[in-house]
C-alpha cells in the first residue's frame, strides 16, 4: 500500500468488553485503513470473535468504542449496518433452503428491490463461482462451497468492509486456496477486509497488516515483514538432545551462520530458516498459537 494516502476506516478507542469476571477484550486501540486487508491473529479465546461481534453491532462494548467510516457502532448502528458485510464462523445460512433462496432472503432484508435483487444474485453467484449450484440445498454443498455461498450472501448490499471470522476453519487445502483467491480478488476490487484467523500462514499469505491479540490485549500491530524484522528475519532452531528446541533470531543469514559455527560440536541438529509470524507470536506471548 506504499504511496497511498491511508484513511482510517475502522477505529477502536479503548475498546473493552467484560463478561462477568472475564475481560474478553481490554483497552483495544487500533485503526484499519480503507482498502486494507487486515488480519486479526490470535489463539482461540483471545477475543477475536468478541471484537468482531462488537464491530458488527451484535454485542455492545462495556467501555470504549468503535467507529466505522466515522459511524459509532452503538449510537449509529443503523448506518454501520448498511456498510458492513459479515461472514460468521458458523456460516449463518439456512441449510434447508437453496443457495438462491438464502441470497434472496439476505437481499430482501437489506432492502434490495426485485430487479436489483435478481441482478445482484446472478452477478455474485458468478463471482463466487456457484452459478451451477444456485438451486441446490445448502446442506448438500461441500464446506468450501458453503463458505463461498455465505460470502456471496454477505456481499449483496455492496458493503464497504467485509468481516470474516475464521473463514477457512475446516476447509481442505483446495477449498482454502480457492477461498484465498476469492478474498484477494475482492480486496483488489476495493473492499476493505477484516479477517480473524488462528492460522499463521493465512495471515502471512493474505494480510497487508496483522494485529496480534492475546488474552484480550493487542500485543503487536504491523506488516508481517515489519513484525519479523523486529524479531530478526532469520531463525536458528537448535534441537538439543532431540528433546528441546532452542530458537534464536538474527537480522541476516551471515550473522545466523556465524552463530551456528560458534555452537559446540555436540549441539545436535541445527536448522537455519526464514523467521515467520509464528516465531513472532511465540516470542511475544511465550505460547504457540492454538495451544493457549
Amino acid at each position: 500500500m506504499a504511496g497511498v494516502v491511508l484513511e482510517a476506516f475502522i477505529v477502536t478507542e479503548q475498546l473493552t468488553k467484560c463478561y462477568s469476571q472475564i475481560r474478553a477484550v481490554q483497552d483495544l486501540d487500533m485503526q484499519v485503513y480503507a482498502g486494507e486487508f487486515f488480519g486479526f491473529l490470535g489463539p482461540n479465546g483471545a477475543g477475536k470473535t468478541t471484537t468482531i461481534r462488537i464491530m458488527t453491532t451484535l454485542t455492545k462494548p462495556t467501555s470504549g468504542g468503535v467507529r466505522i467510516n466515522g459511524f459509532d457502532v452503538v449510537k449509529e448502528a443503523d448506518e454501520v449496518k448498511k456498510i458492513i458485510g459479515v461472514v460468521q464462523q458458523h456460516l449463518s445460512l439456512d441449510r434447508d433452503l437453496t443457495v438462491r433462496e438464502n441470497m434472496e432472503f439476505r437481499a430482501r432484508i437489506h432492502h434490495l428491490g426485485a430487479t436489483e435483487r435478481k441482478k445482484r444474485i446472478s452477478e455474485l453467484l458468478e463471482y463466487v463461482e456457484l452459478t451451477d449450484c444456485a438451486d441446490r440445498m445448502v446442506n448438500t454443498l461441500s464446506g468450501g462451497m458453503q463458505k463461498r455461498a455465505a460470502i456471496a450472501c454477505s456481499l449483496l448490499h455492496e458493503p464497504k468492509v467485509l468481516f470474516l471470522d475464521e473463514p477457512t476453519v475446516g476447509l481442505d487445502a483446495q477449498g482454502r486456496r480457492r477461498l484465498w483467491d476469492l478474498l484477494r480478488r475482492l480486496n483488489m476490487d476495493g473492499t476493505t477486509i477484516f479477517l480473524t484467523t488462528h492460522y499463521i500462514e493465512e495471515a502471512e499469505a493474505l494480510c497487508h497488516r496483522v494485529g496480534i491479540i492475546h488474552h484480550g490485549r493487542l500485543i503487536a500491530l504491523d506488516t508481517p515483514l515489519a513484525l519479523r524484522e523486529k524479531l530478526g528475519l532469520v531463525a536458528v532452531e537448535a534441537h538439543v538432545n532431540n528433546k528441546e528446541t532452542h530458537y534464536k533470531y538474527f537480522a541476516d543469514r551471515a550473522s545466523a551462520t556465524r552463530y551456528v559455527q560458534s555452537l559446540p560440536a555436540n549441539a545436535g541438529t541445527v536448522i537455519i530458516r526464514d523467521s515467520n509470524l509464528e516465531d513472532v507470536f511465540v516470542e511475544l506471548t511465550g505460547e504457540k498459537v492454538g495451544e493457549a
Binding site: 460468521q88 449463518s92 433462496e101
Partner: protein, 249 residues
C-alpha cells in the same frame, strides 16, 4: 410504514420457503395430538355427559381447537426461531440488517400464525363435521386468528429468552402442558372453586378457549376475555422487543 410491512414480509418469507419444503409432515404431525384428545375425551370419556347445557362433544371441540392453536402456533414460531438462533445462526443476519426489531418480532411470529391457523382450522372443520351444533362464522375465524397470533408471539418470546433446546422442553412440560389441560379446554371453569377459577384466568389459553366456545356455540360473547387475550398479545410483543434489546448487551 410501507417499509415495515415489507420487512415483516421479508422475515416471514424465508420461514414460509422453509415450510414449503416440508409442509405435509409439519401439518400432519400437528394434528395427531388434538385428534387423539378428540377421540379419548370427546368420545371415550364424554359420550353421555353434558356441560353448560350442551353435549360434551360440542363443548370440548372449541377447547381442542384452542389448544391446537396454542401448541401449533407456539411451537411453529418457537422451534424455527430456536433453529435460526442456535443451529443455523442465521438469526444474527437479521440483527445485523437494517430491519427493525419490531418487524423482526412480528415477522418471526407469522410462521407460527400460519401453522397454527392451518392446524386449528382443520380441527375446526373436523369438529364441525362431527357436531353440527357448532357454528363456523367469520367472527370465529377472527378469534382463531387472534389466538394464533397471541400464541405465536408467546413462542417467539420463549425462543428469545430460553437459551437451549433442553430448557425449552422443560418449559413445554412445566408451563404449556398444564396450561393445555387446565384452561377450560376439557371442562367448564364453572365447576371449579373461585380461587382456582381466578388463577386460571391468568392463563391466555383460558381466554382463547372461552371466547372460541362462546362464538362456536352462539352464547354471549365474552368481551372481557377477548380484550384480555389481546392484552396478552401486547405483553408478549413488548417482552420480545425487550428481550431483543437486551440480547446485544
Amino acid at each position: 410504514m410501507l417499509r415495515a410491512l415489507n420487512d415483516i414480509y421479508s422475515v416471514f418469507w424465508v420461514d414460509l420457503r422453509n415450510l414449503r419444503h416440508h409442509w405435509r409432515t409439519t401439518i400432519a404431525t400437528s394434528l395427531v395430538q388434538p385428534l387423539l384428545y378428540l377421540v379419548a375425551f370427546g368420545y371415550g370419556l364424554g359420550g353421555g355427559i353434558s356441560l353448560d347445557g350442551v353435549g360434551y362433544l360440542a363443548f370440548v371441540i372449541p377447547g381442542i381447537v384452542a389448544l391446537t392453536a396454542l401448541s401449533t402456533s407456539f411451537n411453529g414460531a418457537a422451534s424455527k426461531l430456536q433453529v435460526d438462533r442456535f443451529f443455523y445462526k442465521s438469526f444474527d443476519e437479521l440483527l445485523m440488517s437494517p430491519v427493525s426489531l419490531y418487524s423482526i418480532v412480528i415477522g418471526k411470529a407469522l410462521i407460527g400464525v400460519v401453522r397454527g391457523f392451518i392446524s386449528s382450522f382443520t380441527m375446526l372443520l373436523v369438529g364441525f363435521a362431527l357436531s353440527p351444533k357448532l357454528i363456523v362464522s367469520p367472527l370465529l375465524v377472527l378469534v382463531l386468528l387472534v389466538s394464533c397470533f397471541v400464541f405465536a408471539l408467546f413462542g417467539v418470546l420463549a425462543a428469545l429468552v430460553i437459551n437451549s433446546h433442553q430448557s425449552m422442553s422443560t418449559f413445554s412440560n412445566l408451563v404449556l402442558l398444564p396450561m393445555t389441560f387446565l384452561s377450560g379446554t376439557f371442562f367448564s371453569l364453572n365447576q371449579l372453586p373461585d380461587i382456582a377459577k381466578a388463577l386460571l384466568y391468568l392463563l391466555p389459553l383460558t381466554h382463547s378457549s372461552s371466547t372460541l366456545r362462546a362464538v362456536a356455540l352462539d352464547t354471549q360473547f365474552p368481551w372481557l376475555s377477548f380484550v384480555a387475550l389481546i392484552g396478552f398479545g401486547i405483553a408478549f410483543f413488548a417482552g420480545c422487543v425487550l428481550a431483543l434489546k437486551r440480547a446485544s448487551v
